[in-house]
Each structure stands twice: as structure tokens, then as C-alpha cells.
Symmetry: C2
Subunit: 178 residues, 2 copies
């Protein structure tokens, strides 16, 4: 995807609709990817994102140790790898190799970006107060990359038990909300 | 909507795809509704939900004081009231009356449920540690009601600036994920 630098003030519109995302980390040159749906925006600018990364995930240790990651937003064409990535562990597998995804160097963090995703958000962990109790990390998005040619990206949304949908046609309502 | 009691273990599938929701509260017989998109699942069972309720919202004080609310999930037919509710304040308006919505008594909390929404989750605030810093409340869902006749509810998903989508056709992928 032809991603360009994207204004941080507009990042909320990428995550607020609830897409499944791919979280990338790197630790001692070991890169990894995990599938994640439990995230929320917490502030517009600088954009803050809260997310749950279970202690059962290999990514948990890397995220806690390096305090860096990237949130990559896949579209429907990547549905099979997205599910596959959620069904195996980085302990035993290089998921970039296994699923034919292309790591791209980030600008501000060590975690790699995924070339095949239409958006990638470079993040730093800014608050770990709820990690012990809930595995909940608060991230600050420090750099965003988006392929803005996709006007209605066909993001993946999980209803549970392997049932997904992608967006139908967008529609506009007059709103004073951001 | 003909809602029935719904298993708490399945609640995550309602919120994980990122729908816009209507948060209801009640304080000293003053009921209110606010529109919210910044929420995430945090635990399967009992279901925990984290959400941002800005201190600028009238609902903030009621939520903090009563530690109770309901999360109501609207479908596309309610798009206009959903936006309208987000564009006015409960300080000066009874939003149930203004938008022609029907309050229904909840089983376990004082906050009213919205009859016109296809799902309603009765919630208690269980953790306020991040309220001062981020306006972030952690809720436990104590009772869920869903109209299970809707197999693919046309929930609303906000891309920012009044642009929304509803789900396209659902599809299934073989997954070991919950």
C-alpha cells in the first residue's frame, strides 16, 4: 500500500470504528505480530490508544520491555493471514515469513510496519498502571502512515467465533461531533 | 425490540466490532443519554468494558456518583437520534422525550434501558483509577439483553466528522480465537 504520513489529529477516525488490527513488536531483533480487537481511542491529540494485550501473548513481554509497537490496520484481502496470525504464537514462528507479510522500517520505533496494511501507527507505551491488573496498555501514537487513496477501507470487524464483517457503504449525517 | 436475557460470556461479540453506543444514566430521577464510540472490551467473563466519558459530558457526574449505567446498542434506523443525542446536553434537555425514545426499567441498575436499541447492557463501575487522568471508566456488565432475532444487526460505526458505516454481509473464517 502507498502509505503517506498522516495528521495525528485525524488518527481517531481510523480506530474508532473498531477494526481488527495487527500489533507489531520487535525485541532483540525478534519481530512479532499479534491480532487484536480490544482497543479504544482515549484522546484525540496527541492520539492515545488503550488496548488489551494478554499475558498469554508472546507480544506481551516485548511490549512491556521495549515500550514500543505499531498498530497496523488490515483490510479484507488480509482476512486469512489476520486469523492465522491470531491462531499461532510468535514463540515458535516468524509470522512475517509464515504469512508472506513485508516488514517495513518505522520512523520512530523499532517495531516493523506491515507493508500490506493500509494504515500503520507507530506507538510508544505511555502508561502501564493497568497492565498488572487488566493487561491494559496505554499507547501514544507518535507517527501515522495511511494510504489515503482508500476512501472506504474494507476493514475487518469481529463479531466473535470467527464471524466478521467489513463496512457497507458509508453515509454522512450532519453532526457537530468530532 | 424484543430483547431477551443474553449470556454474559457472549457479550464481547456485541462490543468488539466497535459500534457507536448510547450510554444511559440516572441520578436523582434525572435520566440522561450520551453517544459514545470510545469503548473496548477488557475481559470476557464477567465482561469488563473500558470507556471514555469526557468530563464535559453531563453523564460524567452521574456515572461517577451513581457508579451505574447501561450501554445500549442502536442500529441504523436510529442514526439521526444517535447524532442528535451527541449534539445536545442533558443539562438542558430530557433526551428520551426530545428524541422519542422509550425508557425501560433495568433489572439490576437504576439507569434506564432504551427500548428501541437491539441490545442493552446493565453495567456497574468497578474501577475508577484512570478517571481523573483519562476520564476512563471500567464497567462490569452484570446483565445483558439482546434481540437475538437480528442476526446481522446494522450497528453504526463512526469514521469521524459525521461519516458512518453499517456492516456489510457477514462472513466466517475458521478460527481458534474466541
Amino acid at each position: 500500500m502507498a502509505k503517506r504520513s498522516y495528521p495525528l489529529a485525524k488518527v481517531y477516525g481510523l480506530l474508532e470504528p473498531g477494526p481488527v488490527v495487527l500489533l507489531t513488536t520487535a525485541r532483540k531483533d525478534r519481530r512479532n505480530i499479534m491480532t487484536m480487537s480490544w482497543h479504544t481511542m482515549m484522546e484525540f491529540e496527541p492520539p492515545l490508544v488503550g488496548c488489551v494485550v494478554s499475558g498469554r501473548n508472546h507480544s506481551f513481554d516485548a511490549l512491556r520491555a521495549t515500550k514500543e509497537c505499531a498498530i497496523n490496520i488490515p483490510t479484507r484481502e488480509l482476512a486469512k493471514p489476520v486469523v492465522g496470525i491470531g491462531n499461532c504464537s510468535g514463540r515458535s514462528v516468524d509470522k512475517f515469513a509464515k504469512f508472506g507479510l513485508t516488514p517495513v522500517a518505522a520512523a520512530q520505533v523499532e517495531a516493523p510496519l506491515i507493508a500490506e496494511c493500509y494504515a500503520s501507527l507507530e506507538c510508544r507505551v505511555t502508561d502501564t498502571r493497568l497492565v498488572n491488573r487488566y493487561n491494559f496498555f496505554i499507547l501514544e501514537v507518535v507517527q501515522a502512515w495511511v494510504d489515503t487513496a482508500l476512501k472506504q477501507p474494507q476493514t475487518l470487524h469481529h463479531r466473535g467465533n470467527g464471524v466478521f464483517f467489513a463496512p457497507g457503504e458509508a453515509f454522512r449525517l450532519v453532526s457537530a461531533m468530532k
